[in-house]
Amino acid sequence: MQLDFANRELTIKLVYYGPALSGKTTNLQALHRLLDASAAGRLMTLETRDDRTLFFDMLPVAFDAGSGLRVRFKVFTVPGQVMHAATRRMVLQGADGVAFIADSQRNETRANQQAYLDLQQNLRELGVDPARLPVVIQFNKRDLPDIRTDAEIDALARHGTEPVYKAVALRGAGVLETFFGLVERTWDALEREHRIEQRFGVTRAAVLERLRARTHRTGTVP
């Protein structure tokens, strides 16, 4: 997080993490569609020829949170492929919250686990306690065959500590829910540490309301 008192500007870094091809970029693309152009800037993609993320994608989201405070979210994705470990760690650096995008397909179970351990490992190497970082988990690709069922995920979710969302990012379903869930959790953590309400008179509810006013549902393909 970067706090610019002089310009009353708060910059929050959110990172979409997960195994290769789980739909991190797709989430950002959907988010870009679902957010109003007055809030979401151009989606920046640094990709390779075969459309796989090379370095990262970045979506800037900025709006007035009231009381003269400008809030900027910088939403990043990391490259999922194992080979880009160094890049992943660099993108993760300074993250205020992480959305972990898991692939719902059964045969991706191990890839999900691997990516989650990789996340924890990278956080530790960056000197961040994984247990203290706000994380939400999204199970994406709910429309594919041979996926873990809703009931299974709900049952498994009781073993974990993170809020779990289900999504079909390609159609925009569940994308905003995940994003707002992440914003909520991240804001709570920042509030605890930086007393934003006390210093700027801005509450989480106000931020969410202002952000929600900048969304539209037309980006969701039913």
């Binding site: 900025a62 890049t87 660099m90 994984p130 994380v135 498994l156 073993h159």
Partner: protein, 473 residues
């Protein structure tokens, strides 16, 4: 020699932010865009950074400005207007600033990723609705010729407010695109440099760690080899003599022996051989006891492995009149395991089964895929790790003498034999199952036994895929 590396503010990369417009745009390209705009509309265009630095400038002095600037008071008034315009930061996005000549400047804010990075100044131009030469111009200097001023003011481009805004929007769009492309390229190169540095750092770290580990292992290996060599030498040397002298006695080198003498010497020799086997097994077990044996895991086709063990054991089974069968249930995917150790497990169990099965009996070596429950405790990521792990189940069933229930807990202890008398009948020191259990446990697996006395025994070994580790991949 190291090549110079462009310095990047770490925060720039971390947040992907643009600190200053002047760092990000190609000034020559921006100047060209401004010149084209100027040529197209005849209006001056300037791009100013957030701090007020002039980044691009395409202008020509309007005729009226030339006239005003020729006069002292006019020059002063013009300079003050220009500096006011330069300092203007339109909070609402657009601001129109009047000049005393009746012309206006349109100042448009340049925002990028929710942050003000600079502004575009368009003008001066004359609002389309201007009809009269304003008093503010006529009063500016006593020396101003009103007729010339009217004539010259008329030469200034006239623009309607909405047209001016469209021009401004268009220019802003073009500048935004330039900033975006430059920013993207800049971030990409910064990431390239940073990831090369990071990869280098990681490699250097790994190399150092590997070197340390290698040195330590070499030392340990030397110690272990010397220990094993000493122990096996100390134990085997006298044993070799015992075996050698027994052989010599049997060959009659020390004179003919017969009857009971020969039988006794043969027993000495057989027991010596047995002792040699025991020492070999002990050394093996000793290695396993020194903590977990090192497994060299690789994908193992358990079906092929079992088939191979059955093939190897077939002659021994035939000799005993025991039928040896290999059975596969369904498809079994390869599993990460140590093929040598897994073969040792199956060899030992099969060998035992044949040993304890009377002639006419049957030994079945079975393979099937199975699962084991997750061993992770609940906590972060529980939703991902609560799932069962893949495993392969190996069974060895016989129709032999069986193991009484009271003994089943102890058969895996070293040197334990169910029935002391069976040692004489079947040989072995009771180390096989102890070794088997250690190897199975080293794989994170488990072994259990089902048996009915007089009907047979089934040993069931479950080897799961290894628990996922964070450095795997």
């Amino acid at each position: 020699m190291t090549a110079p590396v462009p310095q990047t503010d770490p925060l720039d990369v971390e947040l992907g932010d643009v600190a200053r417009l002047e760092d990000i745009v190609d000034r020559a390209a921006l100047a060209e865009v401004c010149r084209n705009f100027h040529a197209l509309f005849g209006i001056s265009v300037r791009v100013v950074s957030r701090d007020g630095a002039l980044i691009a400038d395409a202008h020509h002095e309007q005729a009226i400005c030339q006239q005003v600037n020729a006069l002292t008071a006019g020059r002063q008034a013009c300079a003050s207007t220009v500096s006011e315009v330069r300092a203007l930061d339109p909070t609402g996005g657009v601001q129109v600033h009047p000049c005393f000549t009746g012309a206006v400047y349109r100042v448009v804010g340049l925002d990028y990723q929710g942050r003000r990075i600079g502004r575009i100044v368009i003008g001066p131009y004359l609002p389309a609705e201007t009809r009269e030469v304003p008093q503010s111009l006529l009063r500016i200097d006593a020396g101003l010729d009103p007729d010339r001023a009217r004539e010259r003011l008329a030469q200034m481009p006239r623009v309607r407010a909405e047209t001016a805004q469209r021009i401004a929007d268009h220019l802003r769009g073009v500048v935004d695109l330039i900033v975006f492309s430059s920013h993207r390229a800049r971030l990409a190169s910064a990431m390239h440099v940073a990831s090369v540095r990071e990869s280098y750092r990681q490699l250097a770290e790994k190399t150092a760690a590997l070197q340390t580990a290698y040195d330590r292992l070499r030392e340990l290996d030397r110690l272990k080899s010397s220990f094993l060599a000493t122990v096996s030498h100390e134990l085997r040397t006298p044993l070799t003599s015992i075996l050698g002298y027994s052989d010599m006695l049997l060959s009659g080198m020390a004179g003919e022996i017969g009857g009971e003498q020969r039988e006794f010497v043969e027993t000495i020799r057989a027991k010596g051989e047995q002792l040699l086997g025991l020492i070999t097994n002990l050394l093996d077990l000793g290695k396993l006891e020194q903590g977990s044996p090192t497994l060299r895991r690789e994908p193992v086709d358990a079906v092929a492995l079992a088939a191979d063990v059955v093939r190897t054991m077939a002659p021994a089974a035939r000799r005993k009149g025991v039928e040896l069968v290999h059975r596969v249930d369904g498809s079994v995917a390869p599993i990460e395991a140590d093929p040598v150790r897994l073969r040792q497990v199956l060899n030992n169990l099969t060998d035992n089964a044949i040993k304890f099965t009377p002639s006419g009996g049957r030994v079945v070596v079975g393979v099937r895929a199975t699962e084991v429950a997750s061993s992770r405790t609940d906590g972060p990521g529980g939703v991902l790790f609560g799932v069962p792990r893949r495993a392969v189940e190996l069974t060895v069933s016989d129709t032999g003498i069986g193991i009484p229930e009271s003994e089943r807990g102890r058969i895996f202890d070293a040197f334990y034999q169910v029935d002391g008398s069976s040692t004489r009948e079947h040989g072995g020191a009771g180390l096989g199952l102890a070794i088997v259990r250690r190897l199975v446990e080293a794989h994170g697996g488990r072994i259990d036994v089902e048996s009915k006395v007089g009907q047979g025994t089934t040993f069931r070994v479950v080897i799961p895929e290894p628990e996922i580790a964070s450095d795997e991949g």
